[in-house]
């Protein structure tokens, strides 16, 4: 993939706001503007991490060594990183996709859960023992539908009534999760658990089926679907007419409207697709790992997806890399739990998000000021 300058503008809303200053921006300057905040954020996170480790009376070097060994250092750990990165790629991609249309989808968590739930329902209804290759398209459709419908509701609320998507998607998170909880607990769950009975159809192959060294890790075929989703999203955003129009709405809705695009229609479409992408992520847990739907499996993946989308510069390729990074931090927390509480990585993740949010406008201001004086 070659990147053009428009692919690299970090936050569509921000650039639109900066509107009237005329300065010469070349693609390499755009690249700097896109990458610097993420690098600064990681640096800040590393410093905060060091402080927390020292507070807990450990040596940062030892903790980080253990973190690397427990993740990229052995095949089980690496498999877990890949598994976690898969879910985060879907939620991060969903959020990045909506952001390109100028929308903040805070509801990826419930869309993820709804996607997994729909896939589980379909799996429970279908006869047992069908091969996964036959089942996969049906599961994909079910998961995309589950997440897509939640996204669609938020998109319609915005397009029709102007209801702000940040608030509606948060509210929908609670509503949808409560609804799924009711459906699961009242009708589907195995007594004494929070999950449905096992699905006997279409379990997806694990990575360990091909490479035995990954034995025990949850990494599975959905990983490839995540990669394909990134490519498809990139293609849609930057190579199709719909993508051209979607990004136009995200940058300057009034100019898009002038260009014959109806922002309301784009909002609905973008939120539906965003929800569907998040919904596909539900397959990773439900079909790739546990073979049942369990309440709370999506917990945290929505909010972490925001970090992934932002650190990834709202670009599908960046999202995939950022997902790997955050999955490494998550899995690394487990690996170092013996030395420091694994909760310290949760702090780091929050620090990364704040640092990116803070440095995006700051970096742009500094770089543009420099360019002017040059």
């Amino acid at each position: 993939m070659t990147m053009t300058s428009s692919e690299l503008s970090q936050n569509p809303k921000d650039t639109a706001r900066a509107g009237r200053t005329i300065s010469r921006a070349t693609p390499s300057a755009h690249l700097r503007e896109a990458l610097l905040p993420s690098l600064i954020a990681l640096l800040v996170a590393a410093i905060v991490g060091d402080i927390l480790i020292v507070v807990f009376g450990q040596s940062p070097a030892a903790v980080y060594r253990l973190l690397i060994e427990g993740t990229w250092g052995n095949s089980y750990g690496f498999g877990q990183v890949l598994y976690k990165a898969t879910t985060l790629t879907f939620t991060g991609l969903a959020i990045a996709f909506a952001l390109r249309a100028g929308l903040f989808n805070i509801g990826a968590e419930s869309q993820l859960a709804a996607g997994g739930f729909m896939a589980a329902i379909v799996g429970l209804l279908l006869p047992a023992g069908l091969p996964w290759i036959v089942m996969l398209p049906i599961y994909l459709a079910a998961a995309a539908f589950g997440g897509g419908i939640v996204g669609w509701i938020a998109g319609e609320l915005k397009a029709r009534f102007g209801a702000h998507e940040v608030i509606t998607t948060i509210m929908l998170n609670f509503i949808v999760l409560a609804l799924l909880s009711y459906l699961t607990s009242a009708h589907l769950k195995v007594p004494e658990t929070l999950h449905t009975v096992e699905i006997h159809s279409g379990a997806l192959p694990r990575l360990s089926d091909f490479i035995p060294a990954f034995h025990g890790s949850a990494a599975n075929l959905v990983m490839l679907i995540a990669a394909l989703a990134c490519v498809a999203a990139w293609w849609y955003l930057f190579r199709t007419r719909r993508g051209f129009e979607l990004r136009a709405v995200g940058l300057q809705p009034e100019a898009a409207e002038y260009g014959g695009v109806r922002p309301g229609a784009v909002w609905t479409r973008a939120m539906t697709i965003s929800g569907a992408i998040a919904g596909l992520g539900g397959l990773n847990f439900v079909l790739g790992y546990k073979h049942y739907y369990e309440e709370g499996f999506a917990g945290g993946a929505g909010f972490l997806g925001i970090a992934v989308a932002l650190v990834g510069g709202t670009h599908p390729l960046g999202v995939a890399l950022a997902a790997l990074l955050f999955a490494t931090i998550s899995q690394g927390g487990l690996a170092v739990n013996a030395l420091v509480p694994k909760q310290f990585v949760e702090v780091l993740q929050a620090v990364v998000i704040i640092a990116v949010a803070v440095s995006v406008p700051e970096v742009r201001r500094i770089l543009r000021a420099q360019r002017r004086t040059e």
């Binding site: 507070v55 949760e346 704040i354």
Partner: protein
Amino acid sequence: MPALLFLAQTLRIAIPYLFAAAGGVVTERAGLIGLTLEGYMLGGAFAAALGSYYGHSAWFGVFAGVLGGVLLGLVYGVSAIRFRADQVVVGIAINLLAIGLTRFFLRLAFGSSSNSPRVPGFGGEQSGTGFAALAANPMIWLGIIAIPVVGWILYRTPFGLRVRAVGEHPAAATSVGISVSRVRYAAAVLSGALAGLGGVYLVLDQHQFTDQMTAGRGFIALAATIFGRWDPSRVGLACLLFAAAEALQIQLQGAQLVPSQFVEMIPYLLTIVALAGVVGRAVAPASLGKVTE
């Protein structure tokens, strides 16, 4: 007396909402999105547990809890005001930060990953259900006056006038010599303190901190702020309404008339209905969430 019991229960449930929603009104009226309320509450709750435990006094816990909320409010303020960071992003991150920090320091201070030991609080052993037990808890009284106090500040004091101006038209405020940043910092700190008190109430009522004990109450308070259209008295009523629905659900638990999940949905559904404008559109302060140059 089921009716009285119902009222008492409603009030108990409403108190943390009232505190946090009071903070929600202040922060949103100043133009700062109230996504951070949940984090303020959780931070306030944990700080209260720390303060109460190590200070051997519930009142020390109150002080510490306020401080906890204020600190998170300052983090939000500095990011969103000084650095002009996106309020939605920082707001979400502050909630994650509060979860992470409280868990980390729960391990560090109390060596547990689920809850603190018993801490001094208000009220007796069984934190009673009747009005007598409620009246003995000073946090209840503070909670009841939180919203009226905020309404009084907004409409009766110079600071309140400035908050309303800054949230609606920051450039106009600047043109008459008001520092928009200072007003917003003050609003962030005040809302941190108020929402922090919501968390303090939970800890001192239950005599311990448990992981993620705020359980989305900050978001219910945000829902009440929006559903009440940013008007203190309406927001107060929204808190009571949401609490009453929960109390009713608890009272009817035996009867199994309505699944509890549907009662949980009520605040969120009502908020969406309010935003969609089915019964009189909720219009947010004009500069809410926008970067002020």
